[in-house]
């Protein structure tokens, strides 16, 4: 994976100023929170406690990227879409059901199996990480 870009400054002084102002609003609002508890009616409600991301980092942190295990997630597409054209041509009708439909339904079961496998792999990996 490529190293993180250096931090960028896009927010200009005006934006930072409004942000400061907003922080002040947020602090004042938190103080009013007790009051908010008292107003039970929806129409009298107090509004946002958090309105703007306050913990704005100097630059956005690491993006998700793709892992090798993510290739598994492509398999349902191959089953349901990659083979759709082939399935459409199959004349066999298992139990009298049209094959293209049976193929898509089997694809759902297949996708669930793949996702369950992926979930187990993720859990095992996390358990191993925690143990380490």
């Amino acid at each position: 994976m490529e190293p993180p870009d250096p931090p960028r400054l896009i927010a200009g002084p005006v934006f930072r100023q409004t942000q400061r102002k907003r922080m002040a609003i947020v602090i004042a609002r938190n103080a009013r929170c007790g009051q908010a508890a008292a107003s039970a009616l929806l129409w009298k409600s107090e509004s946002p406690i958090v309105t703007e991301p306050l913990d704005r980092p100097p630059y956005p942190e690491s993006p998700g990227g793709l892992k090798k295990a993510d290739l598994l997630l492509v398999l349902p597409f191959i089953w349901q879409l990659g083979f759709a054209s082939w399935a459409n041509g199959v004349a066999w009708a298992p139990l009298g059901l049209p094959f293209p439909m049976v193929w898509q339904m089997a694809g759902i079961v297949f996708a669930t199996g793949i996702l369950a496998l992926r979930y187990r792999l993720d859990r095992a990996r996390r358990a191993a990480e925690n143990a380490a």
Partner: protein, 484 residues
């Protein structure tokens, strides 16, 4: 009798929602609480809410009508959930983690924060609102069908649509997101009952021995219905259409602002992953929806005005006792009301937070909340206007909503895949995509170039191509200055 059952179901659900909501929602009623359900929905509630999103009118009324009118193209339903879950398994935990870390509430917050560009947040908010309103239109269309069914043909289309929008707004104001979770639970249980009752008896009612014989009968009498391109080959709903539409739906599902917001409100990343594993299985029950459409085809049911959206209600009305129709109509109301209210809530919070607030930073909070609630009424009115002008199938309207929201997809995927993506590259992609969708000459050119493709996917690919190539070709400005 039908009206009584509908009112009982809807009234009971609203009352239950309010009780449940009151019990759960203790103190602070602030905007975040109201719109996000306090960020602490457990697996069960989250699952119901999420599944409820998928069990929409698009799926039930739309797909049954689509199967009846076009045949095989209705199989698209089987791809819509599983493939979206495969994408969601990777994408949604990332959205969740990012949103949690930075205390984000809406999708536009995400764009503004990730790309460090408040103006992009405003653009995204407006783009999201457009797609959401189209989605609300689906719910209004369905609710209008139910209102017309209950009130009789004496009530005009316009009046029925108006009543639908007003009841949807009432539903929103009587219940916040937390109560929508309760209503979604009621709706899912009722939907299950309705589907079991209908599917159990449908074969006998159309003169077939078993469910399998219904499909066999269709294959005998309407052989073209069981495979692509279906009953109306001239429409071009072939395998290419299926593949491109399914990809567009899969990429767009979690880009809808309300789904995005739902990712923030999940209890943990693990909750959403587990949810993604469980969700596709739900979609196997589209089998019964397609069964009903095919049964109506065999029975020679004619939908009023040839409107495929009205098919299921018409079929049940003609072949079943009144109480079944009442149950279906009541459930269909919830089917439209629950997602409709979530969608309108999302519209309101996006408008207040990401359009009004950046434009009028000095605005008082109370006024912002009031404005966002008034805005919901405005959005409902736009959806009403769109409903009156529209004539397409719910599936077509649904696909156009996906096409509109797909324009935000490159921005979301790039956020996690391509670190140096610039906000103006995202904007350029957005403009390109919308041009293909909305400039008739460009749409025609794209349709001629990509025969039978879902136009939304063509626009999405063009959008992504522009955004990514601008990012890669033009070097990032070297301004490593720090804010401090």
């Amino acid at each position: 009798m039908i009206l009584t059952i509908i009112l009982l179901i809807v009234g009971g659900t609203v009352a239950g929602s309010m009780l449940y909501g009151r019990r759960r929602q203790q103190a602070a009623r602030n905007m975040e609480e109201w719109a996000l359900g306090g960020r602490k929905l457990g697996t069960l509630v989250f699952w119901f809410l999420n599944a409820g999103e998928i069990y929409t009118t698009f799926a039930v009324l739309g797909i049954s009508g689509f199967a009846w009118a076009y045949g095989a193209p209705a199989y698209l339903a089987f791809c819509s959930v599983s493939l979206a879950a495969a994408v969601g398994y990777w994408l949604t935990p990332l959205i969740h983690a990012y949103g949690r870390r930075h205390g984000l509430v809406t999708q536009a917050d995400f764009f503004a924060h990730r790309y460090q560009a408040p103006w992009l947040g405003i653009c995204v908010a407006v783009a999201g609102l457009v797609a959401l309103v189209v989605y609300v239109q689906i719910q209004v269309t369905a609710l209008t069908l139910v209102v017309r069914l209950a009130a009789g043909p004496a009530v005009s289309q316009e009046a029925a649509a108006f009543v639908s929008v007003v009841s949807m707004l009432l539903f929103v104001f009587l219940a916040g997101l937390r109560s929508a979770a309760f209503a979604a639970g009621v709706k899912d249980v009722l939907m299950l009952i309705v589907v079991i009752v209908l599917a159990w008896t449908v074969a006998g009612l159309v003169g077939e021995a078993s469910v399998l014989d219904v499909f066999h009968g269709v294959a005998q009498r309407f052989p073209e219905a069981t495979r692509f391109p279906g009953l109306k080959p001239a429409l071009g709903l072939d395998v290419t259409w299926l593949v491109t539409s399914a990809i567009n739906v899969a990429l767009g599902t979690y880009i809808f602002p309300h789904m995005f917001q739902l990712c923030y409100s999940a209890g943990s990343g693990d909750t959403i992953r587990r949810n993604a594993v469980l969700q596709p299985i739900y979609s196997l029950s589209y089998f019964f929806i397609i069964l009903l459409g095919f049964a109506a085809l065999l029975a020679g049911t004619a939908a009023p005005g040839g409107d495929p959206n009205a098919l299921l209600l018409a079929f049940v009305g003609q072949r079943y006792p009144a109480w079944v129709l009442g149950l279906l109509a009541g459930t269909a109301s919830l089917l439209a009301l629950v997602p409709g209210s979530v969608l309108l809530l999302t519209c309101g919070s996006i408008f207040g937070r990401n359009v009004l607030r950046p434009l009028f930073p000095a605005m008082d909070d109370r006024r912002e909340l009031l404005a966002s609630r008034l805005a919901m009424i405005g959005f409902a009115a736009i959806a009403l206007y769109l409903t009156l002008g529209a004539s397409g199938s719910l599936v077509e309207v649904g696909l156009s909503a996906y096409a509109a929201i797909g324009m935000l997809a490159p921005g979301v995927y790039c956020a996690f895949l391509l670190r140096r993506t610039q906000p103006w590259a995202i904007l350029a992609g957005l403009v390109t995509g919308y041009a293909i969708l909305w400039v008739p000459a460009l749409t025609a050119a794209a349709a001629a170039l990509f025969v039978h493709w879902e136009i939304g996917l063509v626009a999405l690919l063009a959008n992504a191509l522009v955004a990514v190539s601008l990012t890669l070709l033009i070097p990032a400005r070297a301004t490593p200055l720090r804010a401090s």
